[in-house]
C-alpha cells in the first residue's frame, strides 16, 4: 500500500506566477517560482529526491542532509541540500550523478549506524521512509561494527504517544511541528551533543491537541500512537479516503482497517482545508466506532424498560406514532449524519408536514448566519483582517486554529478578537478586546470608534469568524455583533464556526428551523406537552442542550420519543424506541464543512449488529407512511438531491476525483429574523459565567475512545487570581456556584486568562453539571461561595 505521508505529496505550483523561473533537473526543463526549494520543484517534475526532515507544510531546516543534489556552479558542480536551496533562473540540477549517489549512501549509512534495525517488531515497518529509502538509496552494507547507542524504550511522552529514542534520526519534524505549527513547544532536542534526544520537560507530558500529527510525520518508528501500536502491519491495511466528521472543519483523512475493524485514521493533505493535519480527537475517536457499547439492535420500551426488538416491529411502532403525530412531530439533530441522511429526513419531515426541526440544540448560532455573505477558510487565511467573535478555536475546531495561526504567524492576516476570556489566538491578535459576556455588540461598537481599526478594516477584505463562544448566554449577542461588523466593513464576509460535523449540510438540506421555531422553542413546546413525537436524530439533548432542566422537562413532556443513535446516550435511554445507527466509517455519503465544502465520507467497515444509515431509516418510514420516495440506494438519494437540493446534487456528482471537494453556498430555505435577547443588567451576583467547550469532554465518541477518555479536564470553574483571593477560596478546593435558587459544587481553579468579574467553566465534563444553573436567559450571573 502507499505510505500516507504528507511529506511525499507535492504542493501544486501557483498558476501564472509572475515570478516564474525555469530550471533544468536531470536534463528536463521545469517551471518553478522564485523562492521555491529545489526539492519542491523536483517533486512536481516527478524527480524524487530522498528526504527525511523536509516536509512541504513546514519550514525547512536541512537537518538530515539526505536530499543533497548537484548544482552547476561557477567552479563546477557543487553539492547543496535541495530542501534549503532556492531555485534560480537557468539553474542546472542533477539528482542522479555518482557523486550524489555516494552522498546519499553515506547519509543512509550514518543514519543507520545507531538505528536499531528492529523493523520486524516496529510498527512503522512497511511504510517507513527510512526503511524504504535505505533500500532505494542506501549502500546495502554498513561498516559500523561498534556498539550502538542505547536508551530505555519505548517511553510514553503523553497519554497517547510513545517515544523510542533509539529509532530516532533527529530529523526535527516532530519538534518543528510542535513548535512552529501547533505552537505547543512541549518536545525539544535535549542533551544536545552525542546524546541528542527528543524529550519533554521532566514530568510534563507532550499534552498537545495535535500530538498525533507528529506520529504521522515521523519518518521512522520513533513516535508511535498507543491506539495503533502492534494492531496491524501496514501492508495488511485496507484504506479509503474520507472526511473527518468529528467537527465541522472537514479534514480529509484516510480510514484504514484490518479485518473489518478501523485501526487507524491518518490525515490527507487537502490544500484548502487541513494541509494534512488532524487534531487528536479527530484522529483517535475512531475507537468509539469499535466500542462494545454500541447499540446493535432496535430497542422498544415495553413495560417501562427498553427491550430488544426486530426492525420491523420497531419501525412499525415509530410509523404508527409518526402517523398519529403528523405535524406535531419534532426532529432534533441530523448534524452528525451525512448530507444524504439530512436530505432524506428533511423530505420525511416535509411529507409529515412537520415544521419543528433543528439540526442544532440551542448550542450554536441561528441558521440565519448562513444567509450572510460567506467566506472560505482560504479566504479567511488570506484576508487583510480576521475578526473573531467566536469560541476558542483551538478547543472547538483545532485545525481551523492551525490554519489561522499559520496565517497570523506569517503576518498575512491581522486578527481582531472580541472575547470574554483569552483564547489560544490572543497572543497573536493585532487587537484583542476583553468584553463582559453578553456585551459583544457594545464591544464592537466601541471598537468601531477606533480610527486605527477602521483604517485596518478599510485596508482589504475582512472575514468575521462567528461562533457561539458562551453557552450560558444567548446567541443573539454574537449575531448582533456580527451584523454591526458586516455593516461597518461592507465587503466583509462571515465564516460561521458551528461545531458539529455536518451542521451546515443539515441546516441547508431541510433540517433548519421553520418560522423561527428552533430547538429552544421545540424543547419548550415538548416540556409543555405539545409535542406528540420527538425524533432525536443522533442528538442527545440531555448532554448537549445548555439548559439542562429544559432538556429534562422536554424529554419527559414529549409523548413519544424516538432516538436514532449509535450509543445508548442519556437521551436515548429515555426514548421509547431506539434505532441503531451506522456512524462515520460505516457508511458512504457526503458531508458539508463549515465553509460549505462538500466532500465524500467513505464506508470502510461493516456497521455492527443491524445498525442502518439514517437515510435508509427515513426512506423506510416514509414508505410505511405511504410516501414512496422511490429511493432504495445511495445513488437514488443523490438523484433525488439533484432536483431537490440545488448545488448539492451537482457537487456530489463531481466529487469522485476531487480530494478538495466542492464549495456549495446556499442558505437554508427559510431564513428568519433573529430574536433579540438583551443580556440584562448585572444582578447582585459577582461573576458573569462563560460556559465554553473544551476539545475533550463527555461527548460519547470521546468517552468511548480509550485513548481520549481520560483527557477530559473535568468539571470546574476558573476565576482570576485576584478574584480567588477576594472570595477567600483555595485553588483545587470545592466551591458552591450559586445562581438564584440553584447551586452546584465544583472545584475552583485560577487562570490569568479569565478577566476579573468573569468565571469560566468547561461544558459537558465529567463531574457536577454546571448546566443546572443555565436558564436560557441573555447571560448568566453567579456567585461563588466557599462552603
Amino acid at each position: 500500500m502507499t505510505t500516507v505521508d504528507a511529506g511525499s505529496e507535492a504542493i501544486p505550483a501557483p498558476e501564472s506566477d509572475p515570478n516564474a523561473v525555469s530550471v533544468t533537473i536531470n536534463g528536463r526543463t521545469v517551471e518553478a517560482h522564485k523562492g521555491e526549494w529545489i526539492i519542491a520543484a523536483a517533486d512536481r517534475a516527478g524527480e524524487y529526491i530522498p528526504r527525511f526532515c523536509y516536509h512541504p507544510r513546514m519550514n525547512s531546516v536541512g537537518m538530515c542532509r539526505q536530499c543533497l543534489v548537484e548544482v552547476e556552479g561557477p567552479r563546477g558542480p557543487m553539492m547543496v541540500v535541495s530542501c534549503m536551496t532556492p531555485v534560480a533562473e537557468g539553474q542546472v540540477v542533477r539528482t542522479d550523478t555518482p557523486q550524489v549517489k555516494r552522498a546519499q549512501e553515506g547519509m543512509i549509512e550514518l543514519l543507520l549506524a545507531n538505528h536499531p534495525l528492529d523493523c520486524p517488531v516496529c510498527d512503522k515497518g512497511g511504510e517507513c521512509p527510512l526503511q524504504d529509502q535505505a533500500f532505494s538509496h542506501g549502500p546495502g552494507e554498513s561498516r559500523f561494527v561498534e556498539e550502538k547507542r542505547h536508551y530505555e524504550k519505548p517511553i510514553p511522552i503523553s497519554e497517547i504517544v510513545y517515544l523510542d529514542r533509539e529509532r530516532c534520526i533527529l530529523c526535527d519534524r516532530c519538534t518543528r511541528f510542535a513548535d512552529d505549527v501547533a505552537g505547543d513547544a512541549l518536545i525539544q532536542f535535549t542533551q544536545r551533543g552525542n546524546n541528542t534526544q527528543v524529550m519533554t520537560f521532566p514530568d510534563e507530558p507532550f499534552a498537545s491537541y495535535f500530538s498525533g500529527n507528529t506520529v504521522q510525520i515521523c519518518p521512522v518508528g520513533a513516535l508511535t500512537a498507543k491506539p495503533f501500536r502492534f494492531k496491524a502491519r501496514p501492508w495488511d491495511l485496507e484504506q479509503r479516503e474520507s472526511t473527518c466528521t468529528t467537527c465541522s472543519v472537514g479534514c480529509r483523512t484516510v480510514v484504514q482497517s484490518s479485518r473489518d475493524e478501523i485501526v487507524r485514521v491518518q490525515g490527507v493533505d487537502s490544500d484548502p482545508v487541513n494541509w494534512g493535519w488532524l487534531c487528536d480527537r479527530g484522529r483517535f475517536d475512531f475507537q468509539s466506532v469499535n466500542s462494545g457499547d454500541r447499540v446493535l439492535v432496535p430497542l422498544v420500551r415495553r413495560d417501562g424498560a427498553l427491550a430488544t426488538a426486530t426492525w420491523a416491529d420497531a419501525l412499525d411502532e415509530v410509523a404508527t406514532h409518526l402517523r398519529g403525530a403528523g405535524a406535531s412531530t419534532a426532529i432534533l439533530g441530523g448534524a452528525r449524519g451525512t448530507n444524504e441522511d439530512a436530505f432524506m429526513w428533511g423530505r420525511l419531515a416535509d411529507a409529515l408536514g412537520c415544521t419543528m426541526r433543528d439540526a442544532q440544540l440551542d448550542d450554536g448560532l441561528p441558521a440565519e448566519v448562513l444567509a450572510m455573505p460567506q467566506a472560505t477558510i482560504d479566504e479567511a487565511c488570506s484576508a487583510a483582517t480576521v475578526v473573531l467573535v467566536a469560541p476558542d478555536l483551538k478547543e472547538e475546531l483545532p485545525v481551523l486554529h492551525l490554519r489561522l495561526r499559520d496565517a497570523a504567524m506569517k503576518k498575512r492576516i491581522r486578527i481582531i478578537e472580541i472575547s470574554a476570556v483569552e483564547t489560544a489566538l490572543t497572543a497573536l491578535a493585532w487587537r484583542s478586546v476583553r468584553c463582559e459576556p453578553g456585551t459583544q455588540p457594545e464591544a464592537v461598537a466601541e471598537l468601531l470608534t477606533d480610527a486605527a481599526v477602521m483604517t485596518q478594516l478599510a485596508s482589504g477584505s475582512t472575514v468575521v469568524v462567528a461562533g457561539r463562544a458562551n453557552l450560558a448566554e444567548s446567541a443573539s449577542h454574537t449575531m448582533s455583533a456580527v451584523e454591526s461588523l458586516l455593516a461597518a466593513a461592507p465587503a466583509a464576509s462571515v465564516l460561521p464556526v458551528l461545531r458539529r460535523a455536518n451542521v451546515r449540510g443539515a441546516l441547508s438540506l431541510g433540517l433548519a428551523p421553520r418560522d423561527g421555531r428552533d430547538a429552544a422553542t421545540i424543547l419548550h413546546d415538548a416540556a409543555e406537552g405539545r409535542i406528540e413525537c420527538l425524533v432525536l436524530l443522533g442528538s442527545d439533548p440531555l448532554s448537549d442542550v445548555p439548559d439542562a432542566d429544559l432538556a429534562r422537562r422536554a424529554l419527559a413532556g414529549a409523548r413519544f420519543v424516538v432516538s436514532i443513535d449509535a450509543f445508548l446516550s442519556p437521551s436515548a435511554a429515555h426514548a421509547d424506541v431506539v434505532l441503531p445507527a451506522a456512524v462515520a466509517g460505516e457508511k458512504d455519503g457526503t458531508t458539508t464543512n463549515l465553509e460549505g465544502r462538500v466532500t465524500g465520507t467513505a464506508q470502510k467497515v461493516t456497521a455492527p449488529g443491524t445498525a442502518r444509515t439514517d437515510w435508509m431509516i427515513a426512506a423506510e418510514l416514509a414508505e410505511m407512511l405511504g410516501h414512496d420516495f422511490g429511493v432504495a440506494t445511495l445513488v437514488d438519494v443523490r438523484r433525488a438531491m439533484e432536483s431537490g437540493a440545488p448545488g448539492w446534487g451537482e457537487a456530489t456528482s463531481r466529487l469522485a476525483n476531487d480530494v478538495d471537494g466542492v464549495v456549495v453556498r446556499r442558505a437554508p430555505a427559510a431564513a428568519h429574523p433573529v430574536r433579540r435577547t438583551a443580556p440584562g443588567a448585572r444582578n447582585s451576583h459577582e461573576f458573569r459565567l462563560v460556559l465554553a467547550r473544551k476539545l475533550y469532554d463527555s461527548a460519547i465518541a470521546t468517552r468511548t475512545s480509550p485513548a481520549l477518555a481520560s483527557l477530559a479536564p473535568g468539571a470546574g470553574i476558573a476565576v482570576h487570581p485576584l478574584d480567588l483571593e477576594r472570595i477567600g477560596a483555595v485553588a483545587g478546593e470545592p466551591v458552591r456556584v450559586v445562581a438564584g435558587e440553584r447551586a452546584v459544587v465544583l472545584p475552583v481553579s485560577v487562570s490569568a486568562r479569565v478577566p476579573r468579574g468573569t468565571a469560566l467553566s468547561p461544558f459537558n465534563q465529567p463531574g457536577a453539571d454546571i448546566r443546572e444553573l443555565v436558564r436560557g436567559t441573555g447571560a448568566l450571573d453567579v456567585s461563588i461561595e466557599v462552603p
Binding site: D184, A185, L186, I187, Q188, F189, T190, Q191, R192, G193, M199, T200, F201, P202, D203, E204
Partner: protein
C-alpha cells in the same frame, strides 16, 4: 530549592530588560538559578520559562546542552581533572585514580559530606601545565598526588574560601545595570532609535 527567590526575580527582570527579546536572557537566568541552589532545579527552569515567555521544555532543551549546568545536586566543589592527551601523557589517569581513592567516590560521584564532586574533563586549554585540574573552574596546574591531597585538605579546612567560592557562584562582585541602559523587550525590527548608551558610536 525551588523557584527563583525574590531577590533573584528582581535580578532576572533587570537582566531580561537588557535584551531585545526576553528569551535571550535564558542562559543568564539559568546561571542565576544555579547560583541560588548549587544546581538548576526543575522548578527554577519552569519559573524561568514563565519569566522569559518560553515553555519549560524549551528551557530544558537549551539548558541541557551546557555541561556547566548541573541538574542534580553536586558538591560544594566540583573537581574537573583533565584527561585529554597532554594531561593523559603526564599522568592524568594516575591522578584520577588517586583522586577516586582519596575522595572515596568514582568519577561522576559526590562525597557523602556533599563537599566534592569528581569529574573527568576534556581539554582545559592548559596543556603546558599538564596534568591540570579545575575546582569550580579555578585552575590548579602540574598537579601531583601530593598537591592534590593538600588541595583537598585546604578546601576542607576552608583555607581557600577567598579564592574558590561554592559551586554555582557566578562572581563575587556583581554589576548593577543602571536605569536607562536596559533596552527592554523590543523586537529588533521595531527598534527605531539607538539606545541611550549607544551615544553615536559606530556600529560594530
Amino acid at each position: 530549592m525551588a523557584r527563583l527567590n525574590d531577590d533573584n526575580v528582581r535580578l532576572a527582570i533587570e537582566t531580561i530588560a537588557r535584551y531585545p527579546r526576553p528569551r535571550s536572557a535564558m542562559i543568564p537566568l539559568l546561571h542565576l538559578a544555579q547560583e541560588q541552589d548549587g544546581h538548576v532545579t526543575n522548578e527554577a527552569m519552569a519559573h524561568i520559562a514563565d519569566l522569559v515567555g518560553a515553555t519549560p521544555a524549551e528551557v530544558w532543551g537549551t539548558a541541557s546542552f551546557y555541561e556547566m549546568f548541573k541538574f542534580e545536586a553536586v558538591g560544594k566543589y566540583v573537581v574537573n581533572i583533565c584527561g585529554t592527551m597532554s594531561c593523559a601523557l603526564m599522568g592524568a589517569d594516575e591522578l584520577i585514580h588517586h583522586a577516586e581513592e582519596r575522595l572515596g567516590v568514582h568519577v561522576g560521584g559526590t562525597t557523602p559530606d556533599g563537599l566534592f564532586t569528581l569529574e573527568r574533563a576534556e581539554c582545559q586549554a592548559a596543556c603546558t601545565e599538564a596534568p591540570c585540574l579545575q575546582v569550580n573552574y579555578r585552575y590548579r596546574f602540574r598537579v601531583s598526588t601530593e598537591s592534590f591531597d593538600s588541595l583537598v585538605d585546604d578546601l576542607r579546612a576552608g583555607r581557600l574560601d577567598g579564592e574558590i567560592p561554592a559551586h554555582g557562584t557566578l562572581a563575587t562582585v556583581r554589576q548593577q545595570i543602571p536605569a536607562g541602559r536596559g533596552v527592554g523587550a523590543v523586537a529588533p525590527e521595531s527598534v527605531v532609535s539607538n539606545p541611550d548608551w549607544f551615544d553615536g558610536k559606530a556600529a560594530l
